[in-house]
């Protein structure tokens, strides 16, 4: 477990250092994500890494544990929002409406563009389609 956690923290640390050091507009953890993915790809090039072996590895198990309770991790920030709900103030209704309409429109536009291009290119159905 320690080894798995260390790998994740190390990737995040490198991501933060690079993002801040080069003043990149990308969050450190997102660079860390890319680094971990690239690292796994490089590792498997050098020494074959089966899907089962990765899932059973320390990194695989710590990652599965964190991602399995991803919702929990947003609770502290969410509680903070309740503190700032007063900031919505007189524009509360406008903001609530803007969020609902915009989220709905964004979901539709994104899924629409995705499926349209997939169809135009004649991409085959994949295991993502259940």
């Amino acid at each position: 477990m320690i080894r798995g956690l260390f790998v994740l923290l190390f990737c995040q640390l490198v991501g933060e250092v690079v993002a801040r050091g080069l003043a990149l507009p990308v969050p450190g953890p997102v660079l860390g994500l890319a680094l971990l993915t690239a690292g796994l790809a490089a590792w498997s090039h050098w020494r074959p890494l089966s899907d089962d072996a990765l899932a059973a590895s320390e990194v695989g198990r710590v990652a599965a544990g964190l991602l399995g309770s991803l919702s929990l991790l947003f609770v502290p920030a969410g509680v903070g929002v309740v503190q700032y709900a007063g900031l919505f103030g007189q524009y509360g209704l406008a903001l609530a409406l803007a969020l609902v309409v915009s989220t709905f429109a964004t979901l539709l536009a994104t899924v629409g563009a995705f499926l349209l291009v997939k169809r135009l290119l004649g991409l085959e159905h994949s295991e993502g389609e259940a």
């Binding site: 969050p27 964190l66 929990l72 929002v81 979901l107 994104t110 563009a113 995705f114 993502g128 389609e129």
Partner: protein
């Protein structure tokens, strides 16, 4: 030790509010499970409501709460990195969908910014509120930085980001089912783009492939939206 001194002790250690955060989440999860993961019963929303009620009841300020809850909050960073594992495992599927992803990223991020700012502007919100609202679909840290650099109010942006996450997580499953969209790559990508990490958490609870694509969309949108907001905002307001 009398009860007052006991309470003072509990307020000074992270123990109480850390345990309360996990406890509230377990209650919320049990409720969500009891209604077979109905999207309306969102675990984040319920846990936040429970903790907020408890804070009000005990007249506890947010800083005291966060002293305990920060340990949970901290894990958001490593959890974002951890998305690399399912991403690597599904890399072939992601590669096959690069073109649809690029199109969805451009269209979706543009719609996210323009529709939110458009609606709020039409309803009379002032510029500082519109700037705070524009990056609402991006993960909180990035959105707050964008808001600050363009003259918005970062705490307001954080509140709008979290609200957007919860709204998208509640909306996505009924919407996609109503449209009979069964491509979990497309479903996941759209909720990750519209609703960042909270949408990604919802996607993982629906289908692992949806979770992977949601995570990718969240990461890509965190790169695109700051540039987009800076370019588009002067034209919209």
């Amino acid at each position: 030790m009398n009860s007052f001194r006991l309470w003072v002790y509990l307020q000074t250690t992270p123990l109480f509010w850390l345990a309360a955060t996990l406890g509230a989440f377990l209650v919320a999860e049990a409720l969500a499970g009891a209604v077979r993961r109905n999207p309306l019963v969102n675990p984040v929303l319920i846990a936040v409501a429970l903790i907020a009620a408890l804070l009000r009841l005990t007249a506890t300020d947010y800083q005291t709460y966060f002293n305990g809850a920060q340990f949970v909050h901290f894990l958001l960073g490593p959890a974002t990195v951890a998305l690399g594992v399912p991403l690597y495992r599904n890399l072939a599927l992601v590669r096959r969908n690069l073109a649809p992803m690029a199109a969805a990223l451009i269209v979706g991020s543009l719609v996210a910014v323009v529709s939110a700012v458009g609606v709020a502007a039409a309803l009379g919100a002032p510029r500082v509120v519109l700037v705070s609202l524009a990056p609402k679909s991006v993960t909180a840290g990035v959105a707050m930085a964008v808001s600050e650099s363009l003259g918005g109010i970062p705490p307001l942006t954080a509140a709008l980001v979290i609200a957007t996450g919860i709204i998208g997580a509640i909306m996505v499953t009924p919407l996609m089912n109503a449209l009979r969209i069964q491509d979990y790559a497309a479903r996941g990508f759209s909720v990750g783009l519209a609703s960042h990490g909270i949408g990604t958490a919802r996607a993982f609870s629906v289908h692992p492939v949806a979770g992977v694509f949601a995570g990718v969309a969240m990461g890509l949108n965190a790169v695109v939206t700051p540039i987009l907001v800076a370019l588009v905002l002067p034209w919209v307001i």
